[in-house]
């Protein structure tokens, strides 16, 4: 029996006290324990930022990559070995800013993996600059007359790009978030969980109470996650209300079932075959 304690590791945590990331970390551990996936069967791949550090703070195999590049790294890892369980941790700047193009491409490829975006609407690690998800006009030390770009709505974009699993969580709703992570990991294809995460140090607008005042659970409504049009409407709710839960879920064909050479077995599982290579490469030259 694997419990969430199994994932505890004694590497010193480097987040600020009170940061929403702690609850995301707890929800991840719970989700892995619930699925009985031991640390050694888990591969976490992350970008750079406070969110990117997550894999260091639990027991797992991990690749802590570069700012913006977690998704293509994870894509390569999954194409090489589709038997690996891959979960990706990114920040909002990391995934939607520096890695924006990869975000769109990952959705279109539909690789069977889960993306958790720690969306604090700010650049945390670099000390509080505006991120793509900061609200228009948000004042920061750097954007001192307010950020001039309008807000990036990851959920709307993900739906428009054809994502088959789009969900939103809130770090403080850890039990609910655990459920979402489990669902995302069980989805056959690319699953996005955008997680609202208060940054107590730098985002003084979108605080925990700001989120709590607006958040409501889709499970308490009659929302049918197969309804794409409705999902679009929900994804656009922001200033007044914030739906939490699975906005959209539809079965699709994951990447490894679209690519002939990935269908049967993982690339990594084949043996080197000198005879086959000789026949195929050299015989007809």
């Amino acid at each position: 029996m694997i419990t969430s304690k199994e994932f505890n590791c004694n590497y010193e945590n480097k987040w600020c006290p009170g940061c929403g990331n702690f609850q995301i970390l707890a929800a991840m551990k719970n989700a892995f324990a619930q699925q009985q996936i031991p640390p050694e069967k888990l591969t976490l791949i992350s970008g750079i930022g406070q969110a990117g550090k997550t894999p260091h703070f639990l027991k797992c195999n991990m690749f802590h990559g570069l700012h913006g590049r977690a998704l293509p790294l994870a894509t390569g890892t999954k194409i090489a070995n589709n038997d690996l369980t891959v979960v990706v941790n990114c920040g909002d700047g990391d995934c939607y800013g520096e890695g924006g193009n990869h975000f769109l491409a990952a959705i279109r490829r539909n690789i069977d993996m889960t993306l958790l975006v720690h969306n604090n609407q700010i650049y945390g690690l670099t000390k509080g600059q505006a991120s793509p998800t900061s609200s228009l006009g948000m004042v920061t030390k750097l954007q001192n007359s307010g950020t001039p770009s309008s807000q990036f709505s990851a959920l709307v974009i993900a739906l428009a790009a054809g994502a088959g699993f789009v969900a939103r969580g809130l770090s403080a709703e850890s039990g609910h978030l655990t459920e979402l992570i489990v669902k995302a990991m069980n989805y056959k294809g690319f699953a996005l969980v955008d997680i609202l995460q208060p940054c107590v140090s730098f985002n003084k607008i979108n605080t925990l109470s700001w989120y709590k005042e607006r958040a409501y659970k889709l499970a308490d409504t009659d929302h049918d996650p197969r309804d794409l049009a409705k999902a679009f409407n929900l994804a656009q709710e922001w200033e007044k209300s914030l739906p939490l839960g699975v906005l959209y879920e539809a079965a699709g064909t994951p990447f490894h079932e679209r690519v002939p050479n990935l269908k049967a077995n993982a690339l990594a599982s084949h043996n080197y075959d000198s005879k086959l290579l000789t026949d195929v490469l050299l015989q007809n030259l």
């Binding site: 991990m62 802590h64 590049r69 293509p72 390569g76 090489a80 990935l262 080197y272 030259l285």
Partner: protein
């Protein structure tokens, strides 16, 4: 008797220049002859001006031909552009509306009309090939057999049509036939005709590379497109990435999971990949990148050739870390180099960069077939992945030789932790000063063994007082130039680099000491010269540099060398 013929087939893009060149090459190959075939084309799909430069000999060829024996002009413009390149006794075959001038130097032939007579105007290129081979004195059956073979898949009707078209061209030019000295007969040879791009693809596949993420960019696209024909029989995946950054990251991600992967690009794409180079170095993940060079910063000249990325490749990405940089000189050598690049990248857990260029990637050259596939392949991942809280697996254990044991994620209880941040032996972020020194030294500690892996440069007449020094694809041109200078009683040697980095300073310094060095490179600042000055302490050198985007020719090097020799 002359057994060395050069022809040029010139016209607009989309006029099938390459088709004619390929047909002629194939007939020559089937007759056991050697070819050196270079394409010259513009970055456009239709129009403009393109040519194929085909040199044929009964001896192995190291370089392209220059003065033309036969000029095939698909349009009149081609004639105007190239007629001066004909040597005395050479002949131009010029496409015309109707039969016209017909003498020893200019032969007008209505390709389209003859093709229509044969059954379809689309066979005009086959008509042209027939005419050329008639002039070369090739028996028609050789061409007919090649055509039947080539069009077999498209059905007998198409094959017959093309044979008929070839015959039209052949007959029209028969009486212009000359004795080239070749023995024309179908021969089974032990030679192969490969392009550098094709060889790179084959070499990677032979090295068990299974994943090819890439983003299209000339002249690197050919490397990847040459993998495609094998994806049916071999379990390999080609994936077009969203950009070069993604391509290199995917290769690193796959390598992390134990699958050999590579990407190929040209300078502009390589610029985007530099952060990946650093990530591979910092995480010590094996990585192979082919940089098929083209000239110019930014977009430069997309379809032209150059060698101006040497110093960039050696230094690309911030800070310092060990890497391999190779620059093979011929297609067969490219095949071998790719195999070694994968082996060494994995053995030392470092990036390996293979420099090609447009000239090498696209030229098709006959060489002895020495290609092999290894009976077994050495992999460097530790199989036994144990580990627990008390004795965790240390991905970055401070090994004496810098090479810490690499394991695969999820291959056992040992947790594989890698990060692009500076890290402690376990793979956790560390900002500790002593650790930073230890890790930097650990990575650098690989260098002595890496240097020992490097093949010394090819030496030709190393005792000569004057040495031509080059690297990569200029090899053949320099070799031929040295031979010709020798024929003119000039004592000149050559030092030709294939393995460029890391460099065995002392050994190379010895070779170059006390010589007049003439650097022969396709860049403006003599990058190898500057590198050798830095590494091997050479004080001065002369240069033969060419940076017009076109390849060298032996003639050019011979002429320049004569001016420079003191």
């Amino acid at each position: 008797m002359k057994t060395d013929v050069t022809l040029k087939i010139a016209g607009a893009a989309g006029q099938g220049i390459q088709t004619i060149g390929d047909l002629l090459s194939e007939v020559c190959h089937q007759s056991g002859l050697f070819i050196f075939s270079v394409d010259d084309f513009e970055s456009r799909v239709r129009g403009g001006h393109n040519f194929n430069l085909l040199r044929i000999s009964d001896k192995e060829l190291a370089a392209p031909g220059n003065r033309l024996d036969i000029l095939v002009c698909i349009n009149e413009n081609a004639y105007d552009l190239h007629k001066e390149e004909l040597r005395s006794g050479g002949i131009a075959i010029v496409n015309a509306e109707k039969p016209g001038t017909r003498n020893k130097t200019r032969f007008e032939i209505p390709l389209k009309k003859l093709a229509e007579e044969a059954g379809n105007k689309i066979t005009a290129n086959t008509v042209a090939a027939g005419a050329v081979l008639a002039i070369l004195g090739t028996p028609f059956t050789l061409l007919a057999d090649v055509l039947k073979n080539r069009f077999a898949a498209k059905g007998e009707k198409i094959a017959t049509l093309n044979v008929a078209a070839a015959k039209k061209g052949f007959d029209a030019a028969k009486d212009l036939s000359r004795n080239t000295g070749f023995t024309w007969e179908a021969k089974k040879s032990h030679n192969i005709v490969l392009s550098g791009a094709q060889a790179a693809a084959l070499g990677a596949l032979a090295a068990d590379c299974r994943f090819f993420p890439f983003y299209p960019m000339s002249p690197a696209t050919g490397v990847i497109s040459n993998v495609i024909p094998y994806t049916e029989k071999l379990c390999v995946v080609v994936e077009q990435a969203e950009d070069e950054i993604a391509a290199v990251m995917m290769a690193i991600g796959a390598s992390f999971a134990g699958v050999r992967a590579m990407t190929a690009t040209s300078g502009g794409g390589f610029c985007l990949m530099t952060e990946g180079l650093g990530l591979a170095a910092m995480t010590e993940t094996p990585l192979v990148i082919v940089n098929a060079q083209r000239p110019g910063p930014a977009t430069g000249l997309p379809t032209r050739t150059g060698q101006a990325d040497l110093l960039f490749s050696i230094h690309a990405s911030q800070d310092e870390f060990p890497r391999f940089v190779f620059a093979p000189g011929t297609p067969v050598e490219t095949y071998e180099t790719m195999k070694r690049a994968f082996h060494l990248a994995e053995k030392y857990q470092v990036p390996a960069i293979v420099l090609l260029d447009q000239f090498l990637a696209n030229s098709r050259v006959t060489e002895k077939n020495s290609l092999t596939v290894a009976p077994d392949i050495e992999r460097f991942y530790e199989q036994n992945n144990s580990g627990n809280d008390d004795t965790p697996y240390l991905r970055y254990a401070l090994a004496q030789d810098g090479v810490s044991p690499q394991r695969l994620p999820c291959s056992g209880p040992g947790l594989v932790r890698v990060t692009g941040n500076e890290h402690d032996p376990e793979g956790h972020i560390s900002e500790n000063a002593a650790n930073k020194i230890a890790m930097t030294q650990k990575r650098a500690a690989k260098l002595p063994a890496m240097i020992k892996e490097m093949d010394p440069p090819l030496l030709v007449n190393p005792t000569a007082r004057v040495l031509l020094v080059g690297w990569g694809s200029t090899r053949g041109n320099i070799l031929e130039a040295v031979e010709r200078l020798g024929d003119q009683s000039m004592e000149i040697g050559a030092v030709l680099f294939k393995d460029l980095w890391p460099m065995d300073r002392k050994a190379i310094g010895k070779v170059l000491d006390n010589k007049q060095l003439i650097m022969v490179e396709q860049n403006e600042s003599s990058q190898l010269g500057r590198l050798l000055a830095q590494e091997a302490g050479i004080v001065s050198f002369d240069t033969i540099l060419k940076y017009d985007g076109r390849p060298f020719f032996p003639d050019y090097i011979v002429q320049k060398a004569k001016e420079l020799v003191k």
